[in-house]
Amino acid sequence: MKIMVAVKRVIDYAVKIRVKADKSGVETQNVKMSMNPFCEIALEEALRIKEAGLASEVVAVTMGPKQSIDTLRTGLAMGADRGIHVEATGDLFPLAVAKLFKALVEIEKPGLIILGKQAIDNDCNQTGQMVAGLLGWPQGTFASKVVLDKEKQEVMVDREVDGGLETLCLNLPAVITTDLRLNQPRYATLPNIMKAKSKPVKKYTPEELNVATNSDLEVVEVTEPPKRKAGVLVSSVDELIDKLKNEAHVI
């Protein structure tokens, strides 16, 4: 069984984000980029499933500009067998990504797709769900535990939901999106980084896959959140009530 894992190249989580002067987006020039942490968890899970003997191959997929190949190489260094890079300039919104994924699934025919639950740059939390919808496959999102049963062709997924934990049993092929507590991703070791250089990466473009990536969405403006205002010390309860009533208008 083949597992496809989606990885995305995003601004590193430790970097201080700045908004561009023209408010069209976030400053990405000269900024450290790395693999989306949730995607790392997804890849780690796929690798563990493969190491348990339940899958034959792990294919890492990334979509984005030319530099996304670095993220793919990191994925290969962690242990993925092959890489696929869909080279697309311009913004790719989740629906476009899902459509591209569907096209790739028709070529690769994996038995399981694992994605991170959301990307830390747009926090959309949509791609995994959309992929499952387009393919008509069952989905287990926010997975904190994944147990595959190869004979029964099922996967048990523990989902982290608002009320607690929900365990679902999904028939394969299925889509899983990973949450934080699923695992601790491994480090890519030096020898593996070296080996990754020779692992095959196939390139596609959206045109080759017959997918239109234009979107109905347009980013109008990006601004910083308002600065937190300093607090005010009040001297009495009356003053507090007065401020809450007349200034903050909450009572």
Partner: protein, 718 residues
């Protein structure tokens, strides 16, 4: 059929209180919450870090072995960390001798992808290209990317780059802003007096060194150098003869208490042993055999006070070898601002002396206008300051309020913040840079030209020099054939040396005609040790013949002059500059080592620093957030106390805990514990890798060791 197997209702999943790695940070928030990005939250989380570290005592040991033997079993130094806990137990730590680490072999291993390391790598590959051979070169870098740990003023003198990559302009190196004006001010609290500028920055450029190093990294990769960022060299590997054969990278995935986490990865040993064997030509064959012998080359280019370089200097007594003095240092704290268009003058260079530092403290500030409305501003404070209450960080914040500087920064925003120590010892403190198995290059040896305030070009040149030399000499010696002639060749070479012929001129072509391969095998045996011997002397000699040495020699007296005070310093500098022009007959010596210069606290009074206003000056957590620094929280603290009791028994009572003031990252804090007693808390996660603590701790109790690779600051425009 898909079915719901079970639905277990649970109370909100518990959170680990103290964590700030990405994974742990989110565990505390609600399950679907997206990551918040406001400054306030981030500084909250950093504050959480500092509080939390006290909750988890870091009883960690390190298996840092200096002389790891080949089969991995070695006497491990166990160090105790200080969270004050007097658990004097030396626990074994992820260092089972049996846990054999993988090893990778290269011809040349370089530690540190900075200007010196990358110049050496590029030069080596260029030489290989010229001679038609292939050598494998590996560069390891502890930062998460090339350039992430690079911070410098920087007014760049392109002299070395012109030699290394003459086409740098065409190849779009990030060097575009020429110096347009050069001002030198003496500051008092309210005024700025213009002085004649002692610098000649006419053909120099204002750059971001981090950007330049990134560019050099991509050039190096084009040449085929293998660069591995995110891997920290933590161990020096030696063979039975005591020569260095390579380095070992850090084990990754070790928890705070020393146990292995689920993603534990043993470090890798990178050995400089030749494997390559190219071509059928006999000549190349000889050349390769030559390299095999001298091929175990490990270069240390770790920057100022490099952790492994310091160990090497101690082990091989490199300072004693040439009667060098101790190294002296300064701490530089820098910010890059984006300012108002109207105030931006690309290429403007300002240096200041005087306020806010007093007459007894050497240092000054710089303000360079870069491209794209960016301005680099920083304060450099010599670490031999006497007052333990001095806080270089707070002095820097004060500086920004000066009436001559404030208008430039007003209405601007800070983009990045960082700090790093730099060498000020000059020629008097350069150790003998060569040891069996390699050399120390760049700031790890210490080639910074203090009066010029430039060290990049000399670091690059020092990297280039070594390799050119090794190749030239080994080829010459080996190709010259029959055993009997081996000593002849060495003598020939030495003769040429004494005639002051530079190694460059000993071109390889002229030696190829000596090709006499039958002698090769015998030659090998004879040359084994001979080669080592000749390398050592030759590198040293060519270094001393190069412009690096000439420059440093001219510059040698300026800094030590200031040890006598500000006025004498200025006077002697003026005499040096205008009268002797670097040809003075005397060489001044440095005073006490920096850590011994600190006076006890009772002879000084605490300094009241103004509170940050949040517009021009900031508190440490805010600044720290701008450095993009981070370390995985669940790892042993990399700052080790040789004696865990010393902070509370010596540092605090006698010096009032100076580390809580000089550290630009608030790593060291004295917090009261339940009994009311103050105890030292080490927030290792905040560390900027500046090495100030390793230098300035009065009893040299703090040892800076390298944390897991990939951590540390994330400089991109510094």
């Amino acid at each position: 059929m898909n079915r719901l197997v079970s639905f277990r209702s649970k109370s909100r999943i518990g959170t680990t209180p103290c964590s700030s790695s990405f994974y742990a940070r989110l565990l505390g928030s609600s399950i679907d919450a997206s990551r918040t990005r406001s400054t306030a939250n981030a500084s909250d989380s950093l504050a959480t870090v500092s509080r939390c570290s006290s909750l988890v005592p870091a009883r960690t040991l390190t298996g840092s072995s200096l002389f790891g033997s080949r089969n991995g079993s070695s006497a491990r130094l166990s160090n105790l960390t200080g969270h004050g806990g007097s658990q004097g137990v030396a626990r074994r730590f992820c260092s089972d001798a049996a846990a054999e680490r993988e090893s990778m072999e290269y011809d040349v291993v370089i530690v540190g992808a900075g200007p010196a390391g990358l110049s050496a790598a590029i030069r080596l590959k260029q030489l290989c290209g010229e001679k038609g051979v292939d050598l494998s070169v590996c560069v390891v870098e502890k930062g998460a990317e090339v350039g992430a740990h690079i911070i410098s003023g920087n007014v760049f003198e392109p002299r070395a780059l012109d030699e290394l990559l003459p086409e740098w302009e065409k190849e779009e190196a990030p060097i575009s802003v020429s110096v347009s004006s050069d001002k030198f001010w003496f500051l008092t609290k309210d005024r700025a007096f213009s002085l004649p500028s002692p610098f000649d920055n006419k053909n120099n450029y204002v750059i971001s060194l981090s950007q330049l190093v990134r560019w050099m990294g991509s050039k190096a990769e084009e040449y085929g150098v293998e660069i591995y960022p995110g891997f920290a060299a933590s161990e020096i590997l030696c063979d039975d003869n005591g020569s260095v054969i390579g380095i070992g990278t850090n084990d990754m995935g070790v928890a705070k208490n020393g146990s292995k986490k689920e993603n534990f990865q043993r470090g890798v040993a990178l050995k400089g042993v030749s494997l390559a064997f190219s071509g059928n030509k006999m000549i190349q064959c000889c050349f390769m055999r030559a390299i095999k012998l001298a091929g175990r080359v490990t270069l240390f280019a770790e920057g100022c006070r490099g952790s492994l370089s310091e160990k090497i200097i101690k082990k091989y007594h490199l300072r004693e070898k040439r009667n060098a003095q101790h190294q002296t240092y300064a701490l530089g704290i820098k910010e890059v601002w984006e300012i108002d268009e109207s105030k931006h003058q690309p290429g403007a260079v300002i240096h200041t002396l005087g306020w806010p530092l007093d007459q007894k403290t050497y240092g000054g500030s710089f303000l360079y206008h870069m491209s794209e409305r960016q301005v680099a501003i920083g304060l450099v404070v010599a670490l031999n300051y006497k007052n333990p209450y001095l806080s270089p960080y707070e002095e820097f914040q004060k500086l920004k309020h000066h009436p001559a500087i404030k208008p430039i920064l007003e209405d601007g925003t800070v983009i990045q913040y960082g700090a790093r120590t730099l060498n000020e010892g000059g020629i008097q403190s350069v150790p003998y840079p060569v040891f069996p198995g390699g050399a120390i290059i760049g700031c790890s040896a210490g080639f910074l030209n203090v009066p010029k305030i430039k060290g990049t070009h000399t670091a690059m040149k020092s990297g280039m020099r070594y390799l050119l030399h090794v190749l030239a000499i080994t080829v010459f010696v080996l190709l010259s054939g029959i055993p009997a002639s081996s000593s002849f060749c060495i003598n020939e070479y030495k003769k040429k040396e004494s005639q002051n012929v530079r190694s460059k001129e000993l071109s390889i072509k002229s030696f190829l005609c000596f090709c006499n391969c039958p002698g090769m095998l015998a030659a090998e045996a004879a040359f084994g040790t001979l080669l080592e011997g000749s390398n050592l002397d030759s590198y040293w000699t060519t270094l001393q013949n190069s412009w690096v040495w000439e420059e440093l020699h001219k510059a040698r007296n300026y800094r030590p002059a200031f040890d006598h005070g500000f006025i004498p310093g200025m006077a002697i500098s003026a005499v040096e500059h205008y009268l002797f022009r670097g040809k003075s007959p005397f060489t001044l010596k440095h005073g006490k080592p920096d850590h011994e210069a600190t006076n006890v606290a009772r002879s000084h009074s605490p300094i009241e620093y103004p509170k940050p206003d949040g517009v021009l000056s900031f508190d440490v957590p805010t600044s720290l957030h701008r450095s993009n620094t981070n370390h995985d929280h669940d790892q042993p603290a990399h700052l080790k106390l040789r004696d865990p009791e010393m902070p509370t028994q010596v540092n605090l009572p006698e010096y009032d805990g100076p580390e809580s003031r000089y550290c630009p990252a608030r790593v060291y804090e004295y917090v009261p514990e339940e009994s009311g007693q103050l105890k030292l808390q080490i927030n290792a996660q905040n560390c900027l890798h500046c090495k100030a603590c390793d230098i300035k701790d009065p009893k040299q109790n703090i040892e800076w060791t390298v944390p897991e690779g990939g951590g540390g600051p994330g400089y991109s425009v510094m």
